[in-house]
Amino acid sequence: MLIDTSTLSDGQSLDADVCIVGGGAAGISIARALANTALKVVLLEGGGFAPTERSQELYDGEMATIYREGTSRAGYDRTYVGRSRLRYFGGTTNHWNGWCRPLEPSDFATRDWVPRSGWPVTRELMDPWYAKARELVEIPEFEEDHGYGRKPDRRQVCLADNADIVTRLFHWSPPTRFGKRWRQPVVDAPNVRLILEANVLRLAGTEGRDAVTHAEVQIEDGPRIQVRAKRFVVSCGGIENARLLLLSELGGDNVGRFFMEHPHVSHVGQIVILDQQGTKGLTDLYFAARKDKRAGGRSMGVFATSDAFQKEHQSLAFCLQLRDRKKEKLNKVGKALLEVGPTVRDLGTDVEGHPKTPYGGRLFARGEQVPNPDSRVTLTDETDRLGLRKARLAWQLGDQDLQSIHTSMEAFARHFGSTGIGRVRIKLKSPDEWPKTRGGDHHLGTTRMAADPTQGVVDAHCKVHGIDNLYMAGSSVFATSGFANPTFTITALALRLADHLKGLP
């Protein structure tokens, strides 16, 4: 039920079995899973059902991206902290693009060349929750089938995997806007009280900091109330989860550390496609990013480095996407390669000045970064209008992250050559100079999952180490990032947590 906040009064205390702080993908998934159970649930959402500047400004913070130690790039996209997330019901799913893919089994495993890698859960353990999450993100059964979701008359040629390079599929969610799509089941549930415009100021702990007693909540233009609950779930997103724990002085020294993004290099290279055998299929499957989505296609192939390659070269998870670019400009050698290659038709778009192909395209890379304790969310001395210290994000990338991009790109170039598909231009500079890099608005790892409390914030059940009744949900619990977009995994983890909560006395 939706609570009319005008009925609340200053100092009022609400009681619940579970108090969920934050109504994004994770919070809504948990509320929906707990709907119509015997549990009394309060779901606190900072915004309303629609975006407002007044609510969004509470996400403003400071950005200090440092690519490599000693080469500060502070000032890089100063708006990132504020604009990369959304503060209203549905959270950041309100601008989600819909990419779905589970993390790879190897992403959950300990890799001895990746510091602090390894989750205390396995992909096998997560598989049933991924299966359940499909309903929430509205994708059909996730099949490793290259013909998935496509018209039967369309070719689905996929490059054969080899020892170094494999094809991996993303599936498209519509994308599901959780705040609209799943609002009604939450509002209709008699055991769930949804309170909008409920700004959580802090979580109050017991004297020994081993349990949370209540949440202090300032209703927008309304009273200040408390929510007391047996258990609290914080699901405000990767930056805000850390901020709330820091403001509440809960969770220990690892809170806010290990911030990870998926480094996106949108101009990592170019490709001239030459091989007539594979290109129609490549167009269908790999060039599906925009065109096919609009046409109702539901899957897209990317190239990824294999587990064996990563192990041999001590590299990180990495994927490469082909993007069709009608105006992709090639240098002299690139144009010459077009000229000497065989004519390839039927590709849909052309390179400027070369109207009937071969085809030039852009390569877009997305990688993993090593969990780094110095890449972190902290608090500034500046406060917002509620008097809460703002978040400061220092996203820091390291040498291994950059080296991995180089190593992986060289492998892709060899792969396209050895399969005869085409030739690749690597547009990276020196091995120690970062190319223009941005993130995917993915905020990961700030309350990371680790069996060892010294290495993380939450345990395998997303419970904060040392605090009996506090759980974290969302991308902040990711121990490592893989290359896949996080929403699907966020949802799967949230459903698993909800199931755990249901089973507690």
Binding site: G269, Q270, V272, L274, D275, Q276, Q277, N331, K332, V333, G334, K335, A336, L337, L338, E339, V340, G341, P342, T343, E410, A413, R414, H415, G417, S418, G420, R423, V424, R425, I426, K427
Partner: protein, 122 residues
């Protein structure tokens, strides 16, 4: 000895890479020098661009044609047989990528053998 038509089909079908289709119509057999000249004459203009860019790199061969055809001979390719030449070039180029015998020419990762081939036209 294959016919010109056979060479066209063989090279276009099996090379399938940068230069395969360009070699169609290469003249029939003869000695290596003549074959090199025939191939060079058939390469499109763009090959010269690639070849020149490659030759500017440090460590390029003094005589790329000889180096290329030596490799073909070492691989047991009868370069006077057009079909064998097309297949041999294809194998050489694919092997180059597999064995990391590549060069970065203006950013493009190319097989050393295809660079040498292009250099014939440069």
């Amino acid at each position: 000895m294959s016919t010109r038509r056979e060479f066209l089909v063989a090279s276009a079908a099996v090379l399938g890479g940068v230069l395969g289709a360009s070699l169609v119509g290469c003249g029939g057999g003869g000695d290596v020098t003549r074959v090199q000249a025939d191939v060079a004459a058939l390469l499109p203009e763009g090959a010269a661009t690639v070849g020149k860019a490659w030759k500017k790199l440090d460590g390029d061969d003094d005589d790329p044609g000889t180096a290329l055809f030596d490799d073909l001979a070492a691989a047991g390719v009868d370069v006077t047989d057009n079909a064998a030449l097309g297949a041999g070039l294809r194998r050489l180029i694919l092997d180059d990528f597999a064995q990391r015998r590549t060069a970065e020419v203006k950013g493009w990762v190319l097989s050393v053998s295809e660079c040498r081939l292009c250099a014939l036209a440069a």
